[in-house]
Amino acid sequence: MGDVTSLVDTIATIEEAAPEQLKARVRQEAGQQLVAIRFAGGSVGVLDVSASPGSVWASVLRNLHELAQPVYVEINPATDLITQVLQPKLQPVGAIEPAENRADMRVEFLRSHSRHFLRRTHPRYAAMLQLLREAQAKNLSVWVTDSLNTHEILDVRPSQTSGGKSETR
């Protein structure tokens, strides 16, 4: 059993004061301001917005909620605390070719000028590569989440599904 659940989904509601049972799971400390994020698929995450990074993550989550766009979050299943927030982007898929190291794949997204990499070591490498190739062949867009600094692809979802799937790693 891993210690982080990753989730890509749209936000159903943001509760500015987290319910008591969620506060108890987090073991709320003095000064913390806990906000509950309820996702369309039924999952819940808790964010402490009294300090960074939670305050900054909350502003990004509110923005993506207003736009009805999915978000990528990592949640500690023991406490329901959100431990990472990333922003999926809707991308048409361009060229998919071996990276310079020959082990990984370099993926071109048509609404991006950055270089993106699909690492062979990712546990869902084969499934994500297949999704990318299908999207490329059918001229479809996919929701893509990549890492903040190295632009390694962490998650790929078809654009017509609303997410809600989670995994534990």
Binding site: W57, L110, H113, R115, N149
Partner: protein, 263 residues
């Protein structure tokens, strides 16, 4: 007839004044400090601002295996397959030349060959266009006359800038990509509204040392940092300085601790 370099610099300063504070990044700021992606949105917004000021820009698009050193990326490197920025025709002693307005890469307008030359590909493909082209390489987004797509792109990369600033790496710039210049004793970062004290020892007490603190995280609009200096006579010959720095903002701020020996 081209414009003067001075006018080009004024227009550069105009667009650069819209730079986003990394942690708050409120619209309508431009996320120049997130160089990784979104250049076509930045370029379209810059062209809008330049045209609103009464000048007529064009755009220059570059394609290739582009690798650009940047202290605003935690890995110190951005890798692109293409890039775009506005250009202005500037009068020079050898005739009119295109100068590029790209605050993500430079601190002033630069000749087009200089802009292309730092992007790491010895034989890139350069394509000039009018300002109306929003995206040269993705047909459904070729034009954006209402700036709706521009605003979507800018919103996306404001969010990326905020998420990066909130990460363990903090806001740009990244100290691992920087060398300490002459007179810089240390680099530091302060959380929002925080106060912290640094000390530096072994300074000859006979020296008259002047300490200043300079933010390196851009965030126009108000003062970011305040500081005070205390001194300790640690021995007959040496002293220790205690520098207390306060972040006056609600955003994380990085800074240089600077000294100058006045005697």
């Amino acid at each position: 007839m081209g414009i003067s370099f001075q006018r080009a610099r004024e227009l550069f300063d105009l667009v650069n004044s819209k730079v986003c504070c990394p942690s708050s990044a409120n619209a309508p700021c431009i996320p120049f400090l997130y160089p990784d992606d979104g250049c076509w949105g930045r370029a379209h917004e810059m062209c809008r601002l330049i045209m609103a000021a009464g000048d007529l820009p064009r755009k220059i698009w570059i394609q290739g295996n582009l690798r650009v050193a940047s202290s605003n990326q935690p890995t110190c490197l951005v890798q692109w397959s293409w890039h775009v920025a506005p250009t202005l025709q500037v009068s020079t002693w050898s005739g009119d030349q295109p100068y590029v307005i790209d605050p993500a890469l430079f601190q002033e307008p630069v000749p087009q060959h200089v802009w292309a030359g730092i992007q790491g590909d010895p034989a890139p493909t350069l394509t000039p266009t009018g300002p109306e082209i929003f995206h040269l390489f993705y047909a459904p987004d070729t034009y954006d006359p209402t700036y709706a797509k521009t605003n979507t792109v800018l919103n996306t990369y404001r969010n990326e800038l905020k998420l990066r600033a909130a990460s363990g790496d903090g806001p740009p710039p990244y100290f691992s990509c920087m060398s300490r210049g002459r007179g810089v004793q240390w680099f530091g970062m302060l959380e929002p509204n925080a106060t912290r004290r640094w000390f530096t020892w072994g300074w000859p007490a006979s020296w008259h040392v002047f300490w200043t603190v300079m933010p390196v995280t851009p965030c126009p609009g108000g003062p970011q940092l305040a500081w005070r200096v205390a001194a300790e006579r640690a021995s007959a010959s040496d002293c220790t300085y205690w520098v207390t720095v306060t972040n006056l903002t609600g955003d994380r701020v990085k800074f240089e601790g600077r000294y100058n020996v006045l005697n």
